[in-house]
């Protein structure tokens, strides 16, 4: 008798839960809206015209498929498994964020919404949102923590060039979580005309599902590309995790492939033994924030504590609910990399491959540098190079003590 095989790719359930995580923890004012969004998304998924337009834009506007690149000198330097990089940093706007933004703005248009809002941390999601808003001729407001505005100045200017209004968020820790609070406040105030493009695989259902679906283009391409190139699946996938969208995008199409080891890398900032990190799985507890139940950095009274990472895009005290679940069931392994690990990963890729990575995937590269030498030369790693580092050169210069 065959045991029923249950796919790990079937979630969430009808109420948006991945195991005990996920759900819709929002103010009542927003409930009818997210139920509408769920309905619109279900209809869009079944509409071939929606997919045709999405695919066309991904190909001709974003520049997909992104290459799967064999990093030969990096591999030689590490002396172990073959390292492939999924080059999503080559996308228009320089990161994976645009994959999701294109999908969501098509949904916004389908729903007749005429105004776009978003939160941003590193500014990559803000830039990607401002980009698609310009492309579709919709006014756009981006919420960004005042502290992130200081450390990501080039992206702030990009958003403004693209016609977006950038609103500095001065509340709380003045970073990504506060920007998300402020975007939710805007949404609840402007429910009639506004579409909120959430930038990571978190938030109230159906966002974690739809952001994941739009990002799985990464994993679907990578799967086909490695099969074509190597004739087999990889042994290991590695991706960095802020909210978890680039990671779930790469991981999801492989979740049912038992032979593929999957590792997500949280940012451990100044170290897991300090309070200055952003590793919500390693250092958090289950809780509710920003519309979903997930693992959160919080104190014993349930107050959210501030995250820290050198990378503004990973500087978030939570994580998408599907990762919280994959962690709980043990399908995905979660490790971490510190600020200084990430800087080493950053320099390593610059030096060996002539690619300047963003600080977010530099965390994944640090993990690759750690794991690859322990693996055999016939084994294969795919790491998600989900963003390019132009935006980070000032941060890196400051960290390396260089005056520009």
């Amino acid at each position: 008798m065959n045991a029923p095989t249950t796919s790990l790719r079937a979630g969430p359930d009808a109420n948006g839960h991945f195991g005990q995580f996920g759900g819709r923890y929002v103010a009542e004012t927003l409930m009818p809206l997210i139920l509408d969004l769920e309905k619109a998304y279900t209809e869009a998924k079944a509409d071939p015209a929606f997919h045709a337009e999405l695919d066309d834009l991904l190909k001709h506007y974003v520049g997909r498929p992104s290459p799967l690149y064999f990093a030969e000198r990096l591999t030689a330097e590490l002396g172990g498994a073959k390292v492939y990089l999924k080059r999503d940093e080559l996308n228009h706007t320089g990161a994976h964020k645009i994959n999701n933004c294109i999908g969501q703005i098509l949904l916004a248009r389908r729903m007749g919404k005429t105004r776009i809002i978003a939160e941003t941390g590193a500014g990559q999601h803000g830039v990607a949102t401002a980009t698609v808003a310009a492309r579709f001729g919709l006014p756009c407001t981006i919420y960004m923590g005042a502290r992130d505005i200081e450390r990501q100045a080039p992206n702030v200017f990009r958003m403004k060039l693209l016609g977006a209004e950038v609103k500095a968020v001065e509340s709380g820790s003045r970073t990504l979580k506060d920007a998300m609070n402020e975007a939710l406040r805007d949404w609840v105030t402007n429910v009639h005309d506004t579409f909120y493009i959430i930038g990571t695989a978190a938030g109230p259902h159906p966002y974690p599902e739809l952001v994941r679906d739009f990002q799985t283009v990464i994993g679907k391409e990578a799967r086909a590309q490695i099969l074509e190139r190597e004739g087999r699946l990889p042994d290991l996938l590695v991706a960095s995790i802020g909210g978890g969208s680039n990671a779930i995008g790469l991981f999801h199409p492989f979740l049912d492939d038992d032979g593929v080891r999957i590792v997500g890398i949280e940012a451990s900032g100044k170290g897991l033994d300090t309070h200055e990190h952003a590793a919500s799985l390693a250092g958090g507890r289950a809780g509710v924030l920003h519309g979903n139940k997930t693992m959160l950095l919080q104190d014993e009274d349930g107050q959210i504590t501030e995250a820290h990472s050198i990378s503004a895009g990973l500087d978030y005290p939570g994580i998408g609910p599907e990762h919280a679940w994959l962690h709980a069931i043990g399908r995905v392994e979660y490790q971490s990399a510190t600020d200084s690990d990430a800087l080493e990963g950053f320099k390593l890729l610059c030096r060996t491959e002539g690619i300047i990575p963003a600080l977010e995937p530099s965390h994944a590269l640090a993990a690759v540098a750690r794991i690859a030498p322990t693996m055999g030369k016939d084994q294969i790693i795919i790491a998600n190079l989900c963003g390019r580092g132009d935006k980070d050169i000032f941060t890196v210069a400051a960290a390396l003590g260089v005056v520009m």
Binding site: R24, E28, Q298, D301
Partner: protein, 277 residues
């Protein structure tokens, strides 16, 4: 106390043909001692029902005034345990004024829903409003509250259309809180005619008392709503005044709040007579 304080108070107001004034303050704002004094003075000033905010770092349904109140309170060291202790002290001298806790789910979850319900009941709490816990997710809290006779007050909003309203009302108890504007607390006020229409629509769907809040700041605005609703909720205006007084380092914050609440209470309590006259 065996009878339900909320239903007793709403019944008394209805018998007197007047609306109830519901006042909101954040517990521990600007500090616990001052907050306890403010609380103790509210019933005499004319508050019929007291809503007490449980502070949270990320109050995403609140505007700047209540966000700042939350941060002042947390900076002063307020915890859920201390909030409950403050209510227990209040109950030593007032066993009639209903008290409803208002806040976000995470601090309750961290405390433990069952422990929260047990200790809230023991402290003399009558119910709670959990802003980010819609009916779909309330299963984690409702059984604990119900088994201790505590109400989970539901919120209806301008976006609660005919399709959504049954979900909001199913299992609702205590009273129904109508959020008069789509927005955060402290937003602009809703037009009185819109409120009247909404209250009529809700009354057709439920027998629960209807309290209207969000955007009610002045005695005039409160009176306009009191003509139609069973209760009027004023929050940000009071929290704003506490914030301003705290900034001045005033030492008469409770007296100032009492004066403000008294003016609101006069307007709310007399609204129907003045309208009829």
């Amino acid at each position: 106390m065996s009878a339900d304080r909320l239903s007793a108070r709403f019944a008394a107001c209805a018998a007197a043909n007047r609306a109830a004034l519901v006042t909101f303050v954040t517990a521990g704002d600007p500090d616990l001692a001052t907050s306890a004094e403010i609380l103790a003075a509210l019933p005499a000033a004319g508050a019929d029902v007291i809503e007490i905010g449980m502070p949270f770092t990320d109050p995403m349904a609140d505007g700047p005034a209540i966000q700042r109140g939350n941060l002042r309170s947390l900076a002063a060291g307020t915890t859920l345990r201390k909030v409950l202790a403050m209510v227990r002290d209040f109950r030593a001298s007032d066993d009639a004024t209903p008290i409803v806790l208002m806040g976000y789910f995470n601090p309750i979850l961290a405390f433990g829903p069952e422990r929260f319900a047990t200790e809230a009941k023991a402290a003399g709490i009558d119910g709670c409003i959990v802003v980010d816990l819609p009916p779909e997710e309330a299963g984690e809290l409702v059984p604990a509250l119900t088994s201790h006779g505590l109400h989970l007050v539901r919120l209806a909003t301008p976006t609660s259309d005919a399709q959504r309203l049954p979900a909001v009302l199913s299992g609702a108890s205590g009273f129904l809180y109508y959020v008069a504007v789509a927005g955060v607390t402290g937003a602009n006020s809703a037009a009185a005619t819109d409120v009247a229409t909404a209250v009529a629509r809700l009354k057709a769907a439920t027998d629960l008392p209807i309290a209207v809040g969000f955007g009610v700041r002045t005695p005039e605005q409160a009176a306009a709503i009191a003509a139609h609703a069973d209760a009027v909720v004023v929050g940000s205006a009071i929290v704003d005044a506490i914030g301003a007084a705290a900034e001045e380092r005033a030492n008469d914050i409770p007296a100032r709040v009492s004066a403000q609440v008294a003016a609101l209470a006069r307007a709310v309590h007399n609204a129907r007579q003045e309208k009829a006259a």
